[in-house]
Protein backbone atom coordinates (compact mmCIF):
# COMPACT_ATOMS: atom_id res chain seq x y z
CA UNK A 1 0.00 0.00 0.00
CA UNK A 2 1.40 3.38 -0.98
CA UNK A 3 1.45 5.71 2.00
CA UNK A 4 -0.70 8.80 1.78
CA UNK A 5 1.16 11.70 3.31
CA UNK A 6 -0.44 14.44 5.30
CA UNK A 7 0.01 18.10 4.58
CA UNK A 8 2.54 18.67 7.33
CA UNK A 9 4.54 15.69 6.06
CA UNK A 10 5.39 17.38 2.74
CA UNK A 11 9.14 17.17 3.30
CA UNK A 12 8.95 13.43 4.00
CA UNK A 13 6.65 12.96 1.05
CA UNK A 14 9.16 14.65 -1.29
CA UNK A 15 11.97 12.52 -0.01
CA UNK A 16 9.98 9.32 -0.29
CA UNK A 17 9.03 10.21 -3.85
CA UNK A 18 12.70 10.59 -4.69
CA UNK A 19 13.52 7.24 -3.12
CA UNK A 20 10.71 5.64 -5.06
CA UNK A 21 12.07 7.11 -8.27
CA UNK A 22 15.57 5.86 -7.56
CA UNK A 23 14.26 2.39 -6.81
CA UNK A 24 12.52 2.43 -10.13
CA UNK A 25 15.64 3.32 -12.10
CA UNK A 26 17.85 1.03 -10.02
CA UNK A 27 16.60 -2.05 -11.86
CA UNK A 28 17.92 -0.99 -15.23
CA UNK A 29 20.77 1.12 -14.03
CA UNK A 30 24.37 0.11 -14.61
CA UNK A 31 25.68 1.95 -11.55
CA UNK A 32 24.86 0.83 -8.07
CA UNK A 33 22.67 3.42 -6.43
CA UNK A 34 21.50 1.29 -3.52
CA UNK A 35 23.82 3.16 -1.22
CA UNK A 36 22.24 6.41 -2.23
CA UNK A 37 18.79 4.93 -1.62
CA UNK A 38 19.81 3.71 1.81
CA UNK A 39 21.17 7.15 2.62
CA UNK A 40 17.96 8.84 1.60
CA UNK A 41 15.88 6.30 3.47
CA UNK A 42 17.87 7.01 6.59
CA UNK A 43 17.36 10.70 6.08
CA UNK A 44 13.62 10.20 5.62
CA UNK A 45 13.41 8.20 8.82
CA UNK A 46 15.34 10.81 10.73
CA UNK A 47 13.06 13.49 9.35
CA UNK A 48 9.97 11.52 10.34
CA UNK A 49 11.37 10.96 13.79
CA UNK A 50 12.08 14.64 14.18
CA UNK A 51 8.67 15.68 12.90
CA UNK A 52 6.78 13.16 15.00
CA UNK A 53 8.72 14.01 18.13
CA UNK A 54 6.99 17.36 18.24
CA UNK A 55 3.62 16.89 16.58
CA UNK A 56 1.11 19.56 17.50
CA UNK A 57 -2.26 18.35 18.75
CA UNK A 58 -3.84 19.43 15.47
CA UNK A 59 -1.29 17.44 13.45
CA UNK A 60 -1.98 14.50 15.71
CA UNK A 61 -5.68 14.82 14.89
CA UNK A 62 -4.72 14.46 11.21
CA UNK A 63 -2.75 11.30 11.98
CA UNK A 64 -5.60 9.94 14.10
CA UNK A 65 -7.93 10.37 11.13
CA UNK A 66 -5.51 9.01 8.55
CA UNK A 67 -7.44 6.88 6.05
CA UNK A 68 -4.76 4.19 6.11
CA UNK A 69 -4.72 3.90 9.87
CA UNK A 70 -5.69 0.45 11.15
CA UNK A 71 -9.40 0.27 11.92
CA UNK A 72 -11.29 -1.97 14.32
CA UNK A 73 -11.71 -4.78 11.78
CA UNK A 74 -7.97 -4.67 11.02
CA UNK A 75 -7.20 -5.32 14.68
CA UNK A 76 -9.85 -8.00 14.87
CA UNK A 77 -8.43 -9.71 11.79
CA UNK A 78 -4.87 -9.62 13.01
CA UNK A 79 -5.16 -10.24 16.74
CA UNK A 80 -8.18 -12.48 17.17
CA UNK A 81 -9.16 -15.86 15.79
CA UNK A 82 -12.55 -17.39 15.09
CA UNK A 83 -14.26 -14.02 14.91
CA UNK A 84 -17.99 -14.53 14.67
CA UNK A 85 -19.60 -11.22 13.89
CA UNK A 86 -23.00 -10.79 15.52
CA UNK A 87 -25.52 -8.47 13.96
CA UNK A 88 -28.45 -6.28 14.84
CA UNK A 89 -30.06 -4.62 17.85
CA UNK A 90 -33.10 -6.96 17.73
CA UNK A 91 -35.53 -4.09 17.44
CA UNK A 92 -34.71 -1.90 14.49
CA UNK A 93 -31.62 -2.51 12.38
CA UNK A 94 -28.02 -3.57 12.09
CA UNK A 95 -25.83 -0.48 12.27
CA UNK A 96 -22.65 -1.20 10.35
CA UNK A 97 -20.75 1.70 11.91
CA UNK A 98 -20.34 -0.53 14.95
CA UNK A 99 -19.02 -4.06 14.52
CA UNK A 100 -18.98 -6.65 17.22
CA UNK A 101 -18.88 -10.32 17.90
CA UNK A 102 -17.38 -13.28 19.64
CA UNK A 103 -13.78 -14.24 19.02
CA UNK A 104 -10.78 -15.87 20.61
CA UNK A 105 -7.81 -13.99 21.94
CA UNK A 106 -4.89 -16.35 22.56
CA UNK A 107 -7.47 -19.10 22.60
CA UNK A 108 -9.69 -17.42 25.21
CA UNK A 109 -13.29 -16.48 24.37
CA UNK A 110 -13.78 -12.71 24.25
CA UNK A 111 -16.31 -10.18 22.99
CA UNK A 112 -14.97 -7.50 20.65
CA UNK A 113 -16.90 -4.33 19.90
CA UNK A 114 -15.80 -1.21 18.07
CA UNK A 115 -16.70 1.59 15.73
CA UNK A 116 -15.69 0.93 12.16
CA UNK A 117 -14.70 3.57 9.63
CA UNK A 118 -14.40 3.01 5.91
CA UNK A 119 -11.34 3.39 3.72
CA UNK A 120 -12.81 4.05 0.28
CA UNK A 121 -15.91 6.07 -0.53
CA UNK A 122 -18.14 3.05 -0.84
CA UNK A 123 -17.09 1.61 2.48
CA UNK A 124 -17.22 5.00 4.15
CA UNK A 125 -20.85 5.34 3.22
CA UNK A 126 -21.59 1.77 4.24
CA UNK A 127 -20.03 2.45 7.65
CA UNK A 128 -21.58 5.92 7.85
CA UNK A 129 -18.07 7.35 8.37
CA UNK A 130 -17.92 5.51 11.68
CA UNK A 131 -20.77 7.57 13.11
CA UNK A 132 -23.17 5.25 14.93
CA UNK A 133 -26.91 5.62 15.21
CA UNK A 134 -28.88 4.48 18.27
CA UNK A 135 -29.26 0.96 16.90
CA UNK A 136 -25.46 0.69 16.79
CA UNK A 137 -25.18 1.42 20.48
CA UNK A 138 -28.10 -0.88 21.21
CA UNK A 139 -26.37 -3.68 19.33
CA UNK A 140 -23.22 -2.97 21.34
CA UNK A 141 -25.19 -3.12 24.60
CA UNK A 142 -26.78 -6.40 23.58
CA UNK A 143 -23.33 -7.86 23.00
CA UNK A 144 -22.07 -6.50 26.32
CA UNK A 145 -24.92 -8.18 28.17
CA UNK A 146 -24.30 -11.37 26.21
CA UNK A 147 -20.66 -11.31 27.29
CA UNK A 148 -21.73 -10.73 30.87
CA UNK A 149 -24.10 -13.67 30.77
CA UNK A 150 -21.37 -16.06 29.68
CA UNK A 151 -18.61 -14.41 31.74
CA UNK A 152 -16.61 -13.36 28.71
CA UNK A 153 -14.30 -10.31 28.90
CA UNK A 154 -15.03 -7.40 26.58
CA UNK A 155 -12.58 -5.51 24.38
CA UNK A 156 -13.74 -2.27 22.81
CA UNK A 157 -12.03 -0.29 20.07
CA UNK A 158 -12.95 3.36 19.86
CA UNK A 159 -12.71 5.18 16.55
CA UNK A 160 -15.45 7.65 15.65
CA UNK A 161 -15.89 11.32 14.79
CA UNK A 162 -18.99 11.13 17.02
CA UNK A 163 -22.49 9.75 17.14
CA UNK A 164 -24.49 10.58 14.01
CA UNK A 165 -26.47 13.82 14.24
CA UNK A 166 -29.46 12.95 12.07
CA UNK A 167 -33.23 13.19 12.19
CA UNK A 168 -33.80 9.44 12.45
CA UNK A 169 -31.11 9.10 15.09
CA UNK A 170 -32.88 11.68 17.23
CA UNK A 171 -36.27 10.09 16.65
CA UNK A 172 -35.01 6.73 17.81
CA UNK A 173 -33.34 8.13 20.92
CA UNK A 174 -29.66 8.75 20.29
CA UNK A 175 -29.30 10.28 23.75
CA UNK A 176 -30.90 7.38 25.54
CA UNK A 177 -28.80 4.87 23.61
CA UNK A 178 -25.54 6.56 24.56
CA UNK A 179 -26.56 7.18 28.16
CA UNK A 180 -27.73 3.59 28.56
CA UNK A 181 -24.48 2.30 27.13
CA UNK A 182 -22.52 4.27 29.75
CA UNK A 183 -24.76 2.75 32.39
CA UNK A 184 -24.37 -0.81 31.15
CA UNK A 185 -20.59 -0.51 30.99
CA UNK A 186 -20.46 0.96 34.48
CA UNK A 187 -22.12 -2.10 35.96
CA UNK A 188 -21.08 -4.88 33.56
CA UNK A 189 -19.90 -7.85 35.58
CA UNK A 190 -16.97 -8.82 33.35
CA UNK A 191 -13.63 -7.13 32.62
CA UNK A 192 -13.89 -4.33 30.06
CA UNK A 193 -10.78 -3.12 28.26
CA UNK A 194 -11.14 -0.05 26.05
CA UNK A 195 -8.66 1.23 23.49
CA UNK A 196 -8.96 4.50 21.62
CA UNK A 197 -7.33 3.58 18.31
CA UNK A 198 -8.01 6.68 16.25
CA UNK A 199 -10.57 9.36 16.83
CA UNK A 200 -12.35 9.47 20.16
CA UNK A 201 -15.17 11.84 19.26
CA UNK A 202 -17.26 12.98 22.20
CA UNK A 203 -20.22 11.06 23.66
CA UNK A 204 -20.33 8.77 20.65
CA UNK A 205 -16.87 7.55 21.61
CA UNK A 206 -17.41 7.52 25.37
CA UNK A 207 -20.36 5.17 24.92
CA UNK A 208 -17.79 2.43 24.20
CA UNK A 209 -14.98 3.78 26.37
CA UNK A 210 -16.06 3.15 29.95
CA UNK A 211 -14.19 0.22 31.41
CA UNK A 212 -11.60 -1.15 33.80
CA UNK A 213 -8.71 -0.01 31.70
CA UNK A 214 -8.77 2.75 29.11
CA UNK A 215 -5.81 2.78 26.76
CA UNK A 216 -5.01 5.09 23.93
CA UNK A 217 -2.70 4.89 20.95
CA UNK A 218 0.14 7.40 20.93
CA UNK A 219 -1.30 9.53 18.13
CA UNK A 220 -4.99 8.93 18.79
CA UNK A 221 -7.11 11.84 19.98
CA UNK A 222 -9.96 11.90 22.46
CA UNK A 223 -12.08 14.97 22.93
CA UNK A 224 -15.34 16.35 24.27
CA UNK A 225 -15.91 18.07 20.92
CA UNK A 226 -14.02 18.01 17.62
CA UNK A 227 -11.43 20.81 17.35
CA UNK A 228 -13.38 22.15 14.33
CA UNK A 229 -16.64 22.11 16.23
CA UNK A 230 -15.12 23.83 19.22
CA UNK A 231 -13.47 26.45 17.03
CA UNK A 232 -16.67 27.26 15.19
CA UNK A 233 -18.56 27.71 18.46
CA UNK A 234 -15.99 29.55 20.58
CA UNK A 235 -13.99 31.36 17.89
CA UNK A 236 -16.86 31.51 15.39
CA UNK A 237 -14.49 30.08 12.77
CA UNK A 238 -13.52 26.50 11.96
CA UNK A 239 -10.11 27.80 10.82
CA UNK A 240 -9.15 28.12 14.45
CA UNK A 241 -9.23 24.33 14.85
CA UNK A 242 -5.46 24.12 15.52
CA UNK A 243 -5.83 26.55 18.43
CA UNK A 244 -8.85 24.65 19.72
CA UNK A 245 -6.97 21.34 19.48
CA UNK A 246 -4.17 22.86 21.53
CA UNK A 247 -6.34 24.20 24.33
CA UNK A 248 -8.80 21.27 24.49
CA UNK A 249 -6.05 18.87 25.51
CA UNK A 250 -6.94 15.99 23.20
CA UNK A 251 -3.68 14.06 23.06
CA UNK A 252 -2.82 10.82 24.80
CA UNK A 253 0.04 12.31 26.80
CA UNK A 254 -2.08 15.21 28.05
CA UNK A 255 -4.97 12.93 29.00
CA UNK A 256 -2.61 10.54 30.78
CA UNK A 257 -1.33 13.46 32.86
CA UNK A 258 -4.92 14.41 33.69
CA UNK A 259 -5.54 10.84 34.83
CA UNK A 260 -8.31 10.28 32.30
CA UNK A 261 -6.63 7.38 30.52
CA UNK A 262 -4.52 4.60 32.00
CA UNK A 263 -1.99 3.71 29.37
CA UNK A 264 -0.47 4.97 26.14
CA UNK A 265 0.32 2.40 23.47
CA UNK A 266 3.27 3.41 21.31
CA UNK A 267 2.92 3.57 17.56
CA UNK A 268 5.50 2.73 14.92
CA UNK A 269 7.60 5.57 13.48
CA UNK A 270 5.39 7.90 11.49
CA UNK A 271 2.14 6.54 12.92
CA UNK A 272 0.24 3.24 12.97
CA UNK A 273 -0.62 3.52 9.28
CA UNK A 274 3.05 3.35 8.26
CA UNK A 275 3.52 -0.15 9.61
CA UNK A 276 0.44 -2.20 10.40
CA UNK A 277 2.46 -5.30 11.29
CA UNK A 278 4.44 -3.57 14.02
CA UNK A 279 1.31 -1.86 15.31
CA UNK A 280 -0.46 -5.21 15.62
CA UNK A 281 2.41 -6.68 17.63
CA UNK A 282 2.44 -3.77 20.05
CA UNK A 283 -1.33 -3.86 20.37
CA UNK A 284 -1.36 -7.59 21.01
CA UNK A 285 1.10 -7.17 23.84
CA UNK A 286 -0.89 -4.29 25.32
CA UNK A 287 -4.16 -6.23 25.23
CA UNK A 288 -2.49 -9.30 26.74
CA UNK A 289 -1.02 -7.28 29.57
CA UNK A 290 -4.33 -5.53 30.16
CA UNK A 291 -6.28 -8.77 30.32
CA UNK A 292 -3.71 -10.34 32.60
CA UNK A 293 -3.76 -7.37 34.98
CA UNK A 294 -7.52 -7.72 35.40
CA UNK A 295 -7.78 -11.48 35.10
CA UNK A 296 -7.29 -12.48 38.71
CA UNK A 297 -9.59 -9.87 40.22
CA UNK A 298 -12.96 -10.98 41.52
CA UNK A 299 -16.02 -9.43 39.92
CA UNK A 300 -16.97 -7.39 42.98
CA UNK A 301 -13.49 -5.98 43.35
CA UNK A 302 -13.44 -5.21 39.65
CA UNK A 303 -16.71 -3.29 39.84
CA UNK A 304 -15.70 -1.42 42.97
CA UNK A 305 -12.45 -0.29 41.42
CA UNK A 306 -14.23 0.70 38.21
CA UNK A 307 -16.75 2.79 40.13
CA UNK A 308 -14.08 4.44 42.26
CA UNK A 309 -12.17 5.39 39.13
CA UNK A 310 -15.27 6.90 37.53
CA UNK A 311 -16.11 8.82 40.69
CA UNK A 312 -12.60 10.28 40.79
CA UNK A 313 -12.93 11.95 37.36
CA UNK A 314 -13.03 15.72 37.63
CA UNK A 315 -10.97 18.66 38.80
CA UNK A 316 -12.38 21.16 41.28
CA UNK A 317 -11.51 22.71 44.58
CA UNK A 318 -13.29 22.65 47.89
CA UNK A 319 -13.87 25.76 49.92
CA UNK A 320 -15.57 26.42 53.22
CA UNK A 321 -19.29 26.49 52.53
CA UNK A 322 -20.91 29.77 53.44
Amino acid sequence: MKTTFLEFEQSISDLEAKIEELRFVQDDSAVDISEEIARLQKKSNALTKELYAKLTPWQMAQVARHPQRPFTLDYIGALFTDFEELHGDRSYADDLSIVGGLARFNGQSVMVIGQQKGRDTKEKILRNFGMPRPEGYRKAMRLMRLAEKFEIPVFTFVDTPGAYPGIGAEERGQSEAIGRSLYVLAELRVPVICTVIGEGGSGGALALAVGDLVMMLQYAIYSVISPEGCASILWKSADKAPEAAETLGITASRLKTLGLIDKIINEPLGGAHRDHAVMMQTMKKALQDALRSLGNKGVDELLETRLDRLMAYGKFKEVEAE
Binding site: G179, A186, Y222, W235, T247, G314
Partner: protein, 289 residues
Protein backbone atom coordinates in the same frame (compact mmCIF):
# COMPACT_ATOMS: atom_id res chain seq x y z
CA UNK B 1 -31.24 80.76 33.06
CA UNK B 2 -27.71 81.98 32.40
CA UNK B 3 -26.69 83.65 29.18
CA UNK B 4 -24.70 80.59 28.23
CA UNK B 5 -27.67 78.28 28.54
CA UNK B 6 -29.70 80.65 26.44
CA UNK B 7 -27.09 80.39 23.73
CA UNK B 8 -27.15 76.60 23.61
CA UNK B 9 -29.48 75.21 21.01
CA UNK B 10 -32.38 73.21 22.52
CA UNK B 11 -31.31 69.95 20.86
CA UNK B 12 -28.16 69.71 22.90
CA UNK B 13 -29.93 70.71 26.04
CA UNK B 14 -32.26 67.77 25.79
CA UNK B 15 -29.46 65.26 25.75
CA UNK B 16 -28.25 66.40 29.14
CA UNK B 17 -29.68 64.77 32.24
CA UNK B 18 -31.75 61.64 32.63
CA UNK B 19 -33.34 60.19 29.51
CA UNK B 20 -37.06 60.49 29.09
CA UNK B 21 -37.38 56.74 28.48
CA UNK B 22 -36.31 55.94 32.02
CA UNK B 23 -38.92 53.37 32.99
CA UNK B 24 -37.87 51.08 35.89
CA UNK B 25 -36.21 48.07 34.30
CA UNK B 26 -37.78 44.62 34.37
CA UNK B 27 -41.25 45.82 35.19
CA UNK B 28 -42.67 44.56 31.94
CA UNK B 29 -41.58 41.38 30.24
CA UNK B 30 -42.35 40.13 26.78
CA UNK B 31 -43.32 36.46 26.58
CA UNK B 32 -40.70 34.65 24.50
CA UNK B 33 -43.41 32.73 22.65
CA UNK B 34 -46.54 34.86 22.10
CA UNK B 35 -44.95 38.32 22.49
CA UNK B 36 -47.61 39.31 25.01
CA UNK B 37 -46.41 42.09 27.26
CA UNK B 38 -46.69 40.84 30.81
CA UNK B 39 -46.34 42.43 34.19
CA UNK B 40 -43.18 40.89 35.65
CA UNK B 41 -44.67 40.06 39.05
CA UNK B 42 -47.62 38.36 37.37
CA UNK B 43 -45.29 36.18 35.37
CA UNK B 44 -43.23 35.40 38.43
CA UNK B 45 -46.31 34.49 40.44
CA UNK B 46 -47.27 32.14 37.64
CA UNK B 47 -43.86 30.38 37.93
CA UNK B 48 -42.67 32.05 34.73
CA UNK B 49 -45.42 30.40 32.73
CA UNK B 50 -47.06 32.89 30.38
CA UNK B 51 -50.68 33.41 31.54
CA UNK B 52 -51.70 34.14 27.95
CA UNK B 53 -50.21 31.20 26.05
CA UNK B 54 -48.93 28.81 28.76
CA UNK B 55 -45.40 29.04 27.40
CA UNK B 56 -42.90 27.82 30.00
CA UNK B 57 -40.26 30.52 30.14
CA UNK B 58 -36.93 29.53 31.64
CA UNK B 59 -36.58 29.56 35.38
CA UNK B 60 -33.49 30.06 37.54
CA UNK B 61 -32.33 27.17 39.68
CA UNK B 62 -33.19 28.91 42.96
CA UNK B 63 -36.64 29.95 41.77
CA UNK B 64 -37.22 26.38 40.69
CA UNK B 65 -36.21 25.05 44.08
CA UNK B 66 -38.49 27.59 45.76
CA UNK B 67 -41.51 26.47 43.78
CA UNK B 68 -40.63 22.81 44.21
CA UNK B 69 -39.55 22.11 47.76
CA UNK B 70 -41.35 22.65 51.02
CA UNK B 71 -40.01 25.83 52.59
CA UNK B 72 -38.65 24.21 55.73
CA UNK B 73 -35.77 21.79 56.18
CA UNK B 74 -33.67 22.58 53.14
CA UNK B 75 -29.95 21.81 53.11
CA UNK B 76 -27.73 22.64 50.20
CA UNK B 77 -25.35 19.88 49.12
CA UNK B 78 -21.99 20.36 47.43
CA UNK B 79 -21.85 24.16 47.65
CA UNK B 80 -18.28 23.72 48.90
CA UNK B 81 -17.28 22.34 45.49
CA UNK B 82 -16.18 25.15 43.20
CA UNK B 83 -14.67 25.23 39.70
CA UNK B 84 -11.01 25.45 38.68
CA UNK B 85 -9.48 26.00 35.26
CA UNK B 86 -7.26 22.95 35.05
CA UNK B 87 -6.62 23.21 31.30
CA UNK B 88 -5.82 26.93 31.35
CA UNK B 89 -8.46 27.12 28.65
CA UNK B 90 -8.59 30.20 26.52
CA UNK B 91 -10.56 31.02 23.40
CA UNK B 92 -11.59 34.58 22.71
CA UNK B 93 -11.86 34.80 26.49
CA UNK B 94 -10.17 32.94 29.31
CA UNK B 95 -12.24 30.26 31.05
CA UNK B 96 -11.50 31.85 34.44
CA UNK B 97 -12.96 35.12 33.16
CA UNK B 98 -16.02 33.37 31.82
CA UNK B 99 -16.48 31.68 35.18
CA UNK B 100 -16.14 34.93 37.04
CA UNK B 101 -18.62 36.64 34.75
CA UNK B 102 -21.13 33.81 35.11
CA UNK B 103 -20.72 33.85 38.87
CA UNK B 104 -21.32 37.57 38.99
CA UNK B 105 -24.36 37.39 36.73
CA UNK B 106 -26.08 34.46 38.39
CA UNK B 107 -24.88 34.60 41.98
CA UNK B 108 -24.10 30.88 41.67
CA UNK B 109 -20.66 29.29 41.80
CA UNK B 110 -21.48 26.75 39.06
CA UNK B 111 -24.34 25.45 36.96
CA UNK B 112 -25.93 22.95 39.36
CA UNK B 113 -27.66 23.57 42.68
CA UNK B 114 -28.32 20.47 44.79
CA UNK B 115 -30.72 20.69 47.69
CA UNK B 116 -31.94 18.22 50.23
CA UNK B 117 -35.51 18.89 51.26
CA UNK B 118 -39.01 17.62 50.83
CA UNK B 119 -41.92 17.80 48.41
CA UNK B 120 -45.22 17.68 50.32
CA UNK B 121 -43.37 16.14 53.27
CA UNK B 122 -41.70 13.45 51.16
CA UNK B 123 -37.98 13.79 51.84
CA UNK B 124 -35.70 13.76 48.81
CA UNK B 125 -32.72 15.35 47.12
CA UNK B 126 -33.25 17.65 44.15
CA UNK B 127 -30.53 18.70 41.70
CA UNK B 128 -31.41 21.69 39.54
CA UNK B 129 -29.45 23.14 36.63
CA UNK B 130 -28.89 26.88 36.33
CA UNK B 131 -29.06 27.56 32.61
CA UNK B 132 -27.84 31.13 32.95
CA UNK B 133 -24.51 29.82 34.23
CA UNK B 134 -22.59 29.16 31.00
CA UNK B 135 -25.60 27.56 29.35
CA UNK B 136 -26.05 25.12 32.19
CA UNK B 137 -23.01 23.27 30.90
CA UNK B 138 -21.72 20.24 32.78
CA UNK B 139 -18.14 20.36 33.99
CA UNK B 140 -16.35 18.80 36.93
CA UNK B 141 -18.32 20.74 39.56
CA UNK B 142 -21.71 19.83 38.12
CA UNK B 143 -20.65 16.17 38.02
CA UNK B 144 -19.30 16.20 41.55
CA UNK B 145 -22.33 17.97 43.04
CA UNK B 146 -24.63 15.54 41.25
CA UNK B 147 -22.70 12.61 42.73
CA UNK B 148 -22.71 14.13 46.22
CA UNK B 149 -26.45 14.58 45.96
CA UNK B 150 -26.89 10.92 45.03
CA UNK B 151 -24.58 9.90 47.86
CA UNK B 152 -26.83 11.67 50.36
CA UNK B 153 -29.72 9.68 48.89
CA UNK B 154 -27.75 6.47 49.39
CA UNK B 155 -26.88 7.36 52.99
CA UNK B 156 -30.41 8.40 53.94
CA UNK B 157 -32.53 6.25 51.61
CA UNK B 158 -33.96 9.15 49.65
CA UNK B 159 -35.30 9.47 46.13
CA UNK B 160 -33.39 11.69 43.71
CA UNK B 161 -34.93 14.21 41.33
CA UNK B 162 -32.99 16.15 38.73
CA UNK B 163 -34.17 19.14 36.68
CA UNK B 164 -32.01 19.64 33.60
CA UNK B 165 -31.58 22.88 31.65
CA UNK B 166 -28.35 22.63 29.75
CA UNK B 167 -26.57 22.85 26.43
CA UNK B 168 -24.43 19.81 27.29
CA UNK B 169 -20.83 19.26 28.32
CA UNK B 170 -18.64 22.27 29.12
CA UNK B 171 -16.09 22.55 26.35
CA UNK B 172 -13.78 24.66 28.48
CA UNK B 173 -13.00 21.65 30.64
CA UNK B 174 -12.13 19.42 27.68
CA UNK B 175 -12.30 15.69 28.25
CA UNK B 176 -12.81 16.21 31.98
CA UNK B 177 -16.32 17.38 31.16
CA UNK B 178 -16.97 14.40 28.89
CA UNK B 179 -16.01 12.12 31.75
CA UNK B 180 -18.73 13.70 33.89
CA UNK B 181 -21.20 11.86 31.65
CA UNK B 182 -19.68 8.55 32.73
CA UNK B 183 -19.40 9.66 36.34
CA UNK B 184 -22.98 10.85 36.79
CA UNK B 185 -24.38 7.83 34.96
CA UNK B 186 -22.27 5.38 36.94
CA UNK B 187 -23.50 6.68 40.29
CA UNK B 188 -27.06 5.95 39.19
CA UNK B 189 -26.22 2.24 39.21
CA UNK B 190 -25.82 2.61 43.00
CA UNK B 191 -29.19 4.28 43.33
CA UNK B 192 -30.78 1.48 41.32
CA UNK B 193 -29.07 -1.21 43.39
CA UNK B 194 -30.70 0.28 46.48
CA UNK B 195 -34.08 0.58 44.72
CA UNK B 196 -34.22 4.32 45.21
CA UNK B 197 -36.16 6.19 42.53
CA UNK B 198 -34.49 8.60 40.13
CA UNK B 199 -36.89 10.97 38.44
CA UNK B 200 -35.53 13.02 35.60
CA UNK B 201 -37.33 16.22 34.70
CA UNK B 202 -36.28 17.68 31.36
CA UNK B 203 -36.78 21.40 31.00
CA UNK B 204 -35.89 23.72 28.15
CA UNK B 205 -33.26 22.94 26.89
CA UNK B 206 -31.76 19.52 27.64
CA UNK B 207 -29.14 18.75 25.03
CA UNK B 208 -25.82 17.09 24.29
CA UNK B 209 -23.76 15.40 26.94
CA UNK B 210 -26.35 15.76 29.68
CA UNK B 211 -29.17 14.38 27.60
CA UNK B 212 -26.83 11.58 26.45
CA UNK B 213 -26.04 10.50 29.98
CA UNK B 214 -28.18 10.50 33.13
CA UNK B 215 -31.07 12.66 31.87
CA UNK B 216 -32.58 9.92 29.71
CA UNK B 217 -32.12 7.24 32.35
CA UNK B 218 -34.78 8.28 34.83
CA UNK B 219 -37.01 5.58 36.27
CA UNK B 220 -39.64 8.05 35.17
CA UNK B 221 -38.83 10.77 32.67
CA UNK B 222 -40.93 13.92 32.82
CA UNK B 223 -40.64 16.94 30.55
CA UNK B 224 -42.01 20.45 30.64
CA UNK B 225 -44.21 21.48 27.69
CA UNK B 226 -42.33 22.45 24.51
CA UNK B 227 -38.89 21.88 26.08
CA UNK B 228 -36.15 21.35 23.51
CA UNK B 229 -34.62 17.93 24.17
CA UNK B 230 -32.09 16.09 22.06
CA UNK B 231 -28.59 14.86 21.47
CA UNK B 232 -27.38 17.05 18.61
CA UNK B 233 -28.45 20.67 18.28
CA UNK B 234 -30.99 21.47 15.56
CA UNK B 235 -28.45 23.55 13.62
CA UNK B 236 -25.88 20.76 13.59
CA UNK B 237 -28.49 18.31 12.31
CA UNK B 238 -29.67 20.74 9.66
CA UNK B 239 -26.10 21.19 8.43
CA UNK B 240 -25.53 17.43 8.38
CA UNK B 241 -28.67 16.27 6.64
CA UNK B 242 -29.13 19.46 4.60
CA UNK B 243 -32.87 19.56 4.95
CA UNK B 244 -35.31 21.54 6.97
CA UNK B 245 -36.28 19.95 10.26
CA UNK B 246 -39.93 19.02 10.77
CA UNK B 247 -42.12 21.32 12.83
CA UNK B 248 -41.85 20.62 16.55
CA UNK B 249 -38.72 18.47 16.07
CA UNK B 250 -36.94 17.70 19.38
CA UNK B 251 -39.70 19.29 21.42
CA UNK B 252 -41.14 17.50 24.46
CA UNK B 253 -44.33 16.65 22.56
CA UNK B 254 -42.26 15.09 19.77
CA UNK B 255 -40.33 12.97 22.28
CA UNK B 256 -43.53 11.81 23.92
CA UNK B 257 -44.86 10.73 20.55
CA UNK B 258 -41.62 8.87 19.77
CA UNK B 259 -41.75 7.05 23.08
CA UNK B 260 -38.69 8.70 24.60
CA UNK B 261 -40.33 10.18 27.70
CA UNK B 262 -43.15 9.21 30.04
CA UNK B 263 -45.16 12.40 30.33
CA UNK B 264 -45.34 16.13 29.90
CA UNK B 265 -46.19 18.03 33.05
CA UNK B 266 -47.20 21.65 33.41
CA UNK B 267 -44.87 23.47 35.77
CA UNK B 268 -47.76 24.49 37.99
CA UNK B 269 -48.63 20.83 38.59
CA UNK B 270 -45.03 19.65 38.97
CA UNK B 271 -45.00 19.42 42.77
CA UNK B 272 -48.18 17.35 42.92
CA UNK B 273 -47.10 15.16 40.06
CA UNK B 274 -43.67 14.40 41.52
CA UNK B 275 -45.16 13.65 44.93
CA UNK B 276 -47.62 11.31 43.27
CA UNK B 277 -44.96 9.44 41.30
CA UNK B 278 -42.60 9.04 44.24
CA UNK B 279 -45.29 7.80 46.59
CA UNK B 280 -46.47 5.31 43.99
CA UNK B 281 -42.94 4.01 43.42
CA UNK B 282 -42.16 3.81 47.13
CA UNK B 283 -45.53 2.31 47.95
CA UNK B 284 -46.44 5.11 50.33
CA UNK B 285 -50.18 5.46 50.89
CA UNK B 286 -51.51 8.89 49.85
CA UNK B 287 -52.89 9.78 53.30
CA UNK B 288 -49.36 9.73 54.72
CA UNK B 289 -48.19 12.65 52.65
Amino acid sequence: MSWLQKLLPPKIKRSIGPSKRAVPEGLWIKCASCDAVLYATDLEKNLNVCPKCNYHNRLSARARIDMLLDPEGRYEIGAEVVPVDSLKFKDSKRYVDRLEEAQRQTGETDALVVMQGAIKNIPLVAAVFEFEFMGGSMGSVVGERFVRGVQVCLEQNLPFVCFTATGGARMQEGLLSLMQMAKTTAVLTQLAARKLPFISVLTDPTMGGVSASFAMLGDVIVAEPKALIGFAGPRVIEQTVREKLPEGFQRAEFLLEKGAIDMIVDRRQMRDQLAQLITLLLRIAPENT
